[in-house]
C-alpha cells in the first residue's frame, strides 16, 4: 500500500488521490480576494470552478465565494466554469478583472495569463500567510536549461523584489525600481531572448541600474532647482 500525501494505492493498478476542500479555507481566500479587490479599486471578482462535475467539492468553494460576496455589495461577483474560462482567456482575456480560484485551476490560469502577457520571465507574484510573505515569480519555472548562460530574464525577480520593498513600506524605492524596469523594457527595449531581444541577463540588469541612476539625478536636479528658486 503506497501512500504519498493524500494519495494511496490500495490495489495494484488503482490509485486514489484526495482533493480536499474546506469551508474554512474557502472562506479565507474568498474574503482575501474581495478585500484585495476593494483596496486596489477593482470592480469584479470571478470565481472559477468545476462545480457541475465536482458538485460537493467545488460546489462548497463556489457557495462560500457567493456567501462572502454578499458582504461586498460594491464589488460585482460572478462565476465561470474552468474550461470555458480557459477558452475565454485565449480569445477575450480583457473581460476578466479579479479571478478567485482553488489551487489547481489557479495554477493553470496563472500559467496561461503569463503566456498571454509575455511569458514566465516577466511576471512576479507573492504568497501571503498570517505570519509570512513570500515573493517569487508567477510561474515558478526553475529554468534548468538556462543555468549559467546569462540569458535568463531577470525582470520577474526584480519586480518581485520591488513588490517586497513595497510590502515593507519602502514605497519610494519600489517605485523607482518599477519605473526603471518599464523604461528599460518599453523605451530602451533592452530585452532578453524570451521576449524577443538579444541582450544578456547582465545587460538588462545594468540597464535597470542605469535608468535608476538617471532618475535619481533627475530628482536631485529638480530639487536643487526648487531650492535655488526659493
Amino acid at each position: 500500500r503506497r501512500v504519498h500525501g493524500l494519495e494511496h494505492q490500495n490495489v495494484a493498478g488503482i490509485v486514489e488521490s484526495l482533493k480536499v476542500v474546506t469551508y474554512e479555507k474557502s472562506l479565507r481566500i474568498a474574503k482575501f480576494a474581495f478585500d484585495y479587490a476593494k483596496s486596489h479599486g477593482r470592480s469584479r471578482v470571478t470565481a472559477i470552478h468545476k462545480a457541475n462535475i465536482m458538485k460537493l467539492g467545488d460546489g462548497l468553494f463556489l457557495e462560500t465565494c457567493r456567501e462572502v460576496s454578499k458582504s461586498y455589495p460594491e464589488i460585482e461577483f460572478d462565476s465561470m466554469i474552468v474550461d470555458n474560462c480557459a477558452m475565454q482567456l485565449v480569445a477575450h482575456p480583457e473581460q476578466f478583472d479579479v479571478m478567485l480560484t482553488p489551487n489547481l485551476y489557479g495554477n493553470v490560469i496563472v500559467a496561461m495569463l503569463c503566456g498571454l502577457t509575455g511569458g514566465p520571465g516577466l511576471t512576479p507574484s507573492y504568497n501571503l500567510g498570517h505570519h509570512y510573505t513570500l515573493f517569487e515569480t508567477a510561474t515558478r519555472n526553475s529554468g534548468k536549461s538556462l543555468v549559467g548562460q546569462n540569458v535568463a530574464n531577470p525582470i520577474a525577480y526584480v519586480r518581485a523584489a520591488a513588490d517586497l520593498l513595497k510590502h515593507l513600506k519602502l514605497t519610494e524605492h519600489s517605485n523607482l525600481i518599477n519605473k526603471a524596469i518599464f523604461k528599460v523594457i518599453a523605451d530602451d527595449r533592452v530585452r532578453t531572448r524570451d521576449v524577443g531581444g538579444t541582450d544578456t541577463t547582465q545587460e538588462v540588469v545594468n540597464a535597470i541600474i542605469f535608468a535608476m541612476d538617471k532618475e535619481l539625478h533627475a530628482i536631485a536636479a529638480s530639487k536643487s532647482v526648487h531650492s535655488t528658486r526659493l
Partner: protein
C-alpha cells in the same frame, strides 16, 4: 478501408485488455457497410443551442440528399419529460453511432454524477478526440494550428465520488487506474499512427500528484515503447497551457487524463476560433459519439438563431466518414470550407451578422454547387 495494423491483437492480449482480441469491435475500425437505403444514426439534440444546431444538421442532410436518417432521443437533465438512459442505450445498440448536442446540468442536482458522465460510463466512451485545426477564413492570433487532444473521459477527477465527512470539509476522489491509462495511451498512439502524426505529448501534474498522474505517465511511457516510430514526450499541465497560448506550433497530439483534457481542449479550441467551430468525437469499444469539441450549451443564445453550427456540422462530417459515407463527408467538408473561406456569411461568434439559418442555407448551396463526383 483502413485497418488497425497487424500485431495489435498481440499487444492487446499482452496488455491484458481484451479477453478475445479476435472479436474486437472497436469503433475506430471501419464499420461494416450498411446495405439499407439510408443509414440510421442516433441523435441526441441536447440542451441550450443543441436543438437548433441539430436542426441545421438535419436541414443540410435533407437539402443535400445525404442518405442518413436520425433516430432522435431527447434525453436531458433539465426536462421532466426526458428520455431515459436505457432509451439511449437501446437506440445505440441498434445504430452504434450517435450525433450529440451539449447537455446542461440543473442548478440543484439530485445526484452527484452528471448525465454526461453517466452516458460516457455506461457506453464506455473512454476516448474523446478533439481536432483543433485552423480554418481558412477564420483569423486567429496563431495561424496554422493543428493539434489533436485525446482525453480519457471515464475516470480521473470525474469519478463522482465525493463526500462531506465532517461539516465544512469535502473530499473528492480522483481515481486513476493502470488499465484505463494504458487503454487511452494505446488509443492515442494508434490514432497518431493512423493519421500520420509524429509526436504524442502526455499532459500531467505528476510532480504534485505523484501516484495518480505518475501512474498515468508511466502507462503512457510504457505504451510509447511499442510505437518507436512515434516520438513521445510529456509536459506539466500548467506549462502546457502557457505554451499553447504562446507557442502552439510545438504540439501535435496531446494525451491527457480527464480534467486536464477538458481544460486543454478548450484552450486549443480557443486558438482556432472557439466552441462554435471545433468538432469532437468520442469512442468506446462498441460505440462512437460525435459532438462539438468544446461542449458548451451557450444557453444565452438559445432560440435566437445566432449560434454557429460549424462545429456540429464538422462533427457530422466525421460521423459520415465513420459510417462509410466518405464521398458525402468530403463534399460536405469542402462546402463548409468554401463558405467559411469566402468570409461572406458568418455568425456572430466570428464577428459576422449572419444567422444560424443563413449559414445553413449557404452550406447547402455550396454543397449543391460542387461538381458532382464521377
Amino acid at each position: 478501408m483502413s485497418f488497425v495494423r497487424v500485431g495489435v491483437s498481440d499487444l492487446l492480449r499482452r496488455s491484458g485488455m481484451m479477453r478475445n482480441a479476435a472479436s474486437m469491435r472497436t469503433t475506430y475500425m471501419k464499420r461494416r457497410c450498411s446495405t439499407t437505403a439510408t443509414i440510421p444514426i442516433t441523435m441526441i439534440p441536447g440542451d441550450g443551442v443543441g436543438p437548433e444546431l441539430m436542426t441545421s444538421v438535419k436541414d443540410v442532410f435533407r437539402g443535400t440528399g445525404i442518405p442518413v436518417h436520425f433516430e432522435e432521443v431527447h434525453i436531458s437533465e433539465l426536462s421532466s419529460h426526458s428520455a431515459s438512459l436505457d432509451d439511449v442505450i437501446n437506440s445505440l445498440n441498434n445504430n452504434k453511432v450517435c450525433l450529440k448536442g451539449p447537455l446542461s446540468y440543473p442548478t440543484h442536482a439530485s445526484e452527484i454524477e452528471s448525465l454526461n458522465m453517466k452516458l460516457r460510463r455506461s457506453l464506455d466512451l473512454f476516448a474523446n478526440v478533439v481536432i483543433c485545426k485552423s480554418i481558412e477564413g477564420i483569423e486567429t492570433r496563431h495561424p496554422n494550428v493543428d493539434i489533436i487532444v485525446i482525453r480519457e473521459q471515464t475516470e480521473g477527477e470525474y469519478s463522482a465520488l465525493e463526500h462531506e465527512c465532517v461539516p465544512g470539509v469535502v473530499e473528492s476522489l480522483k481515481i486513476i487506474t493502470s488499465q484505463r491509462s494504458r487503454r487511452i495511451a494505446k488509443f492515442a498512439f494508434d490514432f497518431a499512427l493512423r493519421h500520420g502524426r509524429r509526436r504524442v505529448t502526455a499532459v500531467h501534474k505528476a510532480n504534485i500528484m505523484k501516484l495518480t498522474d505518475g501512474l498515468f505517465l508511466e502507462c503512457a511511457a510504457e505504451m510509447a515503447e511499442m510505437y518507436p516510430e512515434i516520438e513521445f514526450n510529456s509536459m506539466i499541465v500548467d506549462n502546457t497551457c502557457m505554451q499553447l497560448v504562446a507557442h502552439p506550433h510545438q504540439f501535435d497530439v496531446l494525451l491527457t487524463p480527464n480534467l486536464y483534457g477538458n481544460v486543454v481542449d478548450n484552450v486549443a479550441a480557443g486558438l482556432v476560433g472557439g466552441a462554435g467551430v471545433v468538432p469532437g468525437e468520442s469512442y468506446g469499444e462498441e460505440f462512437a459519439v460525435f459532438e462539438p469539441g468544446a461542449r458548451h450549451v451557450y444557453s444565452t443564445a438559445t432560440g435566437r438563431n445566432i449560434a454557429n453550427p460549424t462545429g456540429m456540422l464538422l462533427s457530422a462530417v466525421s460521423c459520415l466518414k465513420h459510417v462509410g459515407l466518405k464521398t458525402e463527408a468530403q463534399r460536405l467538408a469542402t462546402a463548409i470550407a468554401n463558405v467559411i473561406s469566402e468570409r461572406r456569411i458568418r455568425t456572430q461568434d466570428l464577428g459576422g451578422q449572419s444567422t444560424t439559418k443563413d449559414f445553413t442555407k449557404a452550406i447547402i448551396a455550396a454543397f449543391l454547387a460542387l461538381p458532382s463526383p464521377t
